[in-house]
């Protein structure tokens, strides 16, 4: 089906089911329970999961396949966002032209930066991309303020021209982003007992695009192009002496992953029409690197998992304050309660970074293949096939 088969097809189906049912899956706890704090099924966060998933999937096409570690990918995301917001300002609030433009502009930007940076490999390449991104960030923050609105970020305003739309909505506000009239921010709520599930148009647009992106990424991984990219990672000398110039391949991968980043940026702006310069800072580029490695570089689903993991901590753990903790542990005796709260406080709220840092270390130390490796191990446990057993099986066969 769709030109993919076997495991890949299963994977795509699983991702599709997960993405479409996310509003249920991410909201497992009833509204009034203490655990509701851990629910992540509200539109903004679900959108972020998916958008950063797209970003990471694209990054993985470059890094996972070719091994070229770009440390400036956030620049493409930022450029995508700016293009989209400009599109909203000038043209119309329809997200389609905005998204298309952001993909194109990010692709062109990636073409230029990639063309230059790919003259070097290894760490030298990483630093070149980092330098380009940091330049973009610094300029966007200051000199380019007329285009980027600097520190505040590019926003819509009441006096935008918006050729194919209205500057001001009927209610006197700024019109909202939409897909041919279907408003992105519109959310319908389904209440089932103590649960309430939110279905947002914006999220479903993002989810569909994630599925498309993911599907394309599968196709790339399984295509001769993907094979060539893996060959680039493995041995460039051999590739050269096989008559292949590696540059067009790496550049194509770079541009494709830049376009993914642009798409992510465009979607971010479509969900929330603001583009800030911080989106291009090295920390943002670093974040996608971390997402990819954390999930499992070179695997198909890993980057999406990594993106979800980091965004979850950033948005859910950071919001747990001592007030919430006291509610949770209110059942404990006073002294114990305070002790538990005091201890837990370090890891949540303003301490969310600490938890994230610790988890980075734990995951990479104990799960060398990232979260995907963790999943594989769990799968193996469930199937009851231990490593030992496999070893025994191998023993009976001769070494070859």
């Amino acid at each position: 089906m769709l030109g993919i088969k076997g495991k890949d097809l299963t994977l795509l189906c699983v991702v599709a089911v997960l993405a479409l049912c996310a509003p249920f899956i991410l909201n497992p706890f009833p509204q009034s329970s203490a655990m509701a704090q851990f629910n992540a099924g509200y539109p903004d966060l679900m959108q972020r999961f998916v958008i950063f998933g797209i970003f990471a999937v694209g990054f993985n096409i470059l890094f996972g396949l070719t091994g070229y570690l770009s440390f400036g990918h956030a620049a493409f995301l930022g450029v995508g966002s700016y293009s989209a917001v400009w599109m909203f300002k000038l043209l119309s609030m329809n997200v389609i032209p905005a998204i298309i433009l952001s993909v194109i502009v990010a692709g062109l930007f990636a073409l230029v930066i990639g063309f230059v940076s790919l003259r070097r490999s290894g760490i030298y390449f990483s630093i070149l991309t980092l330098a380009f991104a940091q330049m973009s960030f610094n300029l966007a923050y200051s000199v380019l303020t007329p285009i980027t609105n600097g520190e505040t970020g590019l926003q819509l305003s009441l006096d935008d021209p918006r050729i194919f739309g209205t500057s001001v909505s009927d209610t006197g506000g700024i019109p909202v982003t939409s897909l041919f009239g279907m408003e992105m921010r519109e959310t319908s709520t389904l209440s089932l007992g103590d649960w309430s599930f939110q279905f947002s148009n914006g999220y479903y647009l993002c989810a569909v695009l994630l599925l498309v992106s993911f599907y394309i990424s599968i196709r790339i991984f399984r295509s001769p192009f993907g094979l060539m990219l893996r060959a680039v990672k493995s041995n460039q000398t051999r590739l050269n002496y096989t008559g292949l110039n590696t540059r067009p391949y790496t550049l194509a991968a770079f541009v494709i992953s830049g376009m993914y980043a642009g798409l992510a940026g465009g979607l971010l702006a479509s969900m929330d029409p603001l583009a800030g310069a911080e989106r291009m800072q090295w920390t943002a580029s670093g974040e996608v690197v971390l997402m990819t490695i954390l999930g499992g570089a070179g695997t198909l689903i890993g980057p999406v998992l990594g993106a979800g993991f980091i965004k979850y901590f950033e948005n859910i753990f950071s919001k747990i304050n001592d007030n919430v903790l006291h509610q949770w542990f209110g059942g404990l005796p006073e002294g114990l309660e305070n002790a538990v709260v005091w201890f837990t406080e370090h890891f949540v709220g303003s301490g969310w970074n600490l938890t994230l840092g610790l988890l980075f270390m734990l995951v990479v130390t104990f799960l060398p293949g990232g979260l995907v490796e963790g999943g594989t191990r769990i799968g193996r446990l469930i199937r009851g096939k231990s490593k030992r057993a496999e070893k025994k099986a191998a023993q009976s066969k001769p070494a070859e």
């Binding site: 496999e390 191998a394 070494a399």
Partner: protein
């Protein structure tokens, strides 16, 4: 034909064994693949042992296991060198205990000159031949001492690898295909050197594809096939045994 090596499987095997180097029930893995499958053999002091077998038989794996390299992982068995338990040592400790390995890919260290490659061998005790003496043995190395080691020609690198092993005071020399890539004249030279080394009482294990050459030089031979020992006996015996020659050595 399958000849069992002569050793007794006692707990205090190491003390009673007449051997200088003994490998006992050794099993080695690369990750999940089981390569060296429970082998045992002895090497006596001062002798040259030829370790033969087809490609992929596990010769290199055996040598690397004895030298205590990080891979393969030796999961079972014991290795004793002159009453020292090698199987409990890290590779640098094995080296200090007297193991010298000339690896099959020569492993010349990039970024270092020829001389630095040799100096590196003389940092940790015990120190063997002096640089002058090594340059006498391999004059080509003397001429190229300031050149980066990895830019040497294939044969020169082989010389450097052997010289580097001799730069340490070793008890057992493990040679993994030392003749590979060497001009015939040089092979003759090295063979002479090996005889000199033998006279000095150094024990040698020689892995070589040129089986005839190796067997002419060696005292004893061990033949490996898919990770198990299929022959252990006098070198001359192999040369005289048609079946062994054709089955495992194709000569």
């Amino acid at each position: 034909m399958n000849v069992k090596p002569d050793f007794n499987k006692g707990k205090n095997y190491a003390e009673t064994a007449p051997a200088f180097l003994s490998v006992w029930n050794m099993e080695s893995y690369y990750g999940e693949s089981y390569i060296v499958q429970n082998i045992s053999f002895n090497v006596h002091e001062g002798e040259i042992l030829a370790l033969l077998g087809r490609n992929g038989a596990g010769k290199t794996t055996t040598l690397r296991s004895i030298a205590r390299m990080n891979s393969p992982q030796v999961t079972a068995g014991e290795i004793w060198l002159d009453h020292q338990p090698l199987h409990k040592m890290a590779s640098y400790e094995a080296s200090r205990a007297g193991i010298g390995l000339v690896p099959e890919d020569r492993a010349i260290i990039p970024g270092l000159t020829v001389e630095e490659n040799l100096q590196l061998a003389q940092i940790a005790p015990p120190i063997g031949w002096s640089l002058e003496r090594l340059y006498d043995l391999f004059p080509r190395l003397g001429e190229r001492r300031k050149q980066e080691g990895v830019t040497l020609s294939g044969g020169e690198q082989q010389m450097l690898a052997i010289a580097r092993a001799l730069a340490r005071d070793i008890k057992v020399l493990l040679l993994d295909e030392p003749y590979e890539g060497l001009a015939p004249v040089i092979v003759d030279e090295i063979e002479k050197t090996l005889r000199i080394i033998k006279e000095q009482g150094i024990t040698t294990i020689l892995v070589e594809q040129n089986a005839v050459r190796a067997l002419e030089l060696a005292d004893r031979a061990v033949i490996l096939d898919t990770g198990t020992i299929v022959f252990d006996g006098a070198a001359a015996e192999v040369l005289g045994n048609e079946e062994l020659r054709s089955e495992y050595l194709a000569i």
